[in-house]
Symmetry: C2
Subunit: 336 residues, 2 copies
Amino acid sequence: MSKEVNKKITIKDVAKEAGVSISTVSNALNNVNVLHPDTKERILEVARRLNYTPNLNGRNLKAQATGVIGLFLGAIRGPYYGELSDSIYSACIDGGYELEIFLSSDPSHIVANILGHRVDGAIILNSAIGKRQEEILRSQGIPTVYIDRILVDDKSSSVVFDSKSGGEQAAKFLLELGHKSFMYIEGEDDNYDSIERRKGFFEALKRAGIEIDKDYILKGAFERQRSYNSVTDFLDSGKPLPDAVFAANDLSAIGVLEALRDGGVKVPEQVSVMGCDDIETTRLVSPSVTTIRTFFEKQGALAVEQLIRMINGEPGELVTLKGRIIPRDSTIAKDL
Amino acid sequence: MSKEVNKKITIKDVAKEAGVSISTVSNALNNVNVLHPDTKERILEVARRLNYTPNLNGRNLKAQATGVIGLFLGAIRGPYYGELSDSIYSACIDGGYELEIFLSSDPSHIVANILGHRVDGAIILNSAIGKRQEEILRSQGIPTVYIDRILVDDKSSSVVFDSKSGGEQAAKFLLELGHKSFMYIEGEDDNYDSIERRKGFFEALKRAGIEIDKDYILKGAFERQRSYNSVTDFLDSGKPLPDAVFAANDLSAIGVLEALRDGGVKVPEQVSVMGCDDIETTRLVSPSVTTIRTFFEKQGALAVEQLIRMINGEPGELVTLKGRIIPRDSTIAKDL
DNA sequence: TAGGGGGGTTAAAACGTTTTTATCCCCCTA
DNA sequence: TAGGGGGATAAAAACGTTTTAACCCCCCTA
């Protein structure tokens, strides 16, 4: 069980084999049009034959720009991150950049990777990042796009779903269906979207003269199981049902649906339920879930666009996406 | 719009600020216990104050081993890759390695990244990789784990779900429920799992004296919509319904469910349906879908384990995971 | 024939680390 | 007092690139 030493092919090997200097090889590979066509062709042939692949550490060490964009996530599982990552990837390629994805929930580790890899820019979707890390990135002038918080300056952009307006839309939609009493299932504590959705929802209801009692604000943590439990506890308490439930995201709404079904409550006949995000599963469960599409594929493309703008020297911006209500079977007009 | 030059803090800056040489700084940072405690403390303080972060390109250029494992995927979206990636990440951390994820469907680009980043090992889940790339990796002695194909040698391991046995399990389960006539929804063409699942399913049925007619083998391509369309076309043809449908994966099974529902066929009363993989959605739809759990979280951990074994000089292995039937509401015993 | 010019190639420096080897200085001992 | 030893620090080489500046030849022109 010995760690084998595997000699990798370097530019030096190619040079020796082709009988030229390493600068000549470099020129041949990088298409600097200064070489004799025959020399160039010979070198390329040798490189191909030896399966030469440039050591990117060497290249990036020398280069002032690496051509790499880094995406920093806390985790990938779930219905959200995969789509987002794929769309970010496409946008990077279209923009002429490479993408590298780093998973981590340790803030200083994340910063070490951003700085250490000398990425040209970073896209961050990670609630673990704190003030101190933001400050370091700013002070070192790394172009950064945040997707789950708002922070805008010369080198920082934010691309966020307008969650407050989402909450307002939900309230408006449910009010127009004639509902009068409501329940809200909260998202994760301290989460930007969670806070804003609640704010928008509550303010819109207030404008319509409606307040929500504390007992009708339940914990959901953006999770299905957590929401299921909260609603089940509520049903056990015997309090009167609300006309409608707005959950901070779709997973949560699906948990609500299950809890109501298991509790013998008919949706949408007795209670209307709606979520937010429009993940695929909302279409597959029955009843299908009314929700707000947040276009998170688009968020990826916009994030990359912002990042490339900043890499090119332009200042950061705040980009906001509005949602759109997708009516499905879990909501129905209240018959009076 | 000028590309700004951002001078990054290097070890040299720290050395100058602390009034020592760069070797001393390096020693301080890497905990080589040879420095005077005061010097060390002073240097660490300066490094912290300047937000110094080592340039990994420099470090990796020098090092013979980078401590990095690379995960190479064609895409992340969907219910599968996210979970897998997360579990690979955890296993890497536990094993003392960093993980970097690269998205790409261009085979030579993938090889360029594996070799170019000098990762200590690679995990590949990408059907785009071909013989030529496998050969290059082998010839350069890069420890590699394949998750969607079988290739085993000194530096290559494979960690795959035993799809053939999965197909057999499905057949056995449905036969025991008393079903006599079957439909199979195929996965993606040329895909390892698709081929094996079919083989296992068909062979087990054959042993029971049952053959499936060509008209009852439908295209599904592992996709929900594609499967929906195929089944809908089948219903339109007016041919007699089978007792049970086995779909090559869960997404496909869900598409079948929808098509049957929309075609007025009751599941499981008229037709039993089962899938494979046990993605979360199978629990959420109604009826919930009977399926075979493939433990793809475990696959990640096993892949990393194999990789680390090979990095330490041991030869590759074939690791096979057996599935387990998860009975749910979409299957029922045939009443005779 | 001397000088200039230019096409083709190479030498050398630089990027930021780590690591091996050298240096320095002080104290101890003979 | 000379020499040795050892603790602390520094110098220098090396990793694999890219790039700038230099070089070498040959041909052309004056």
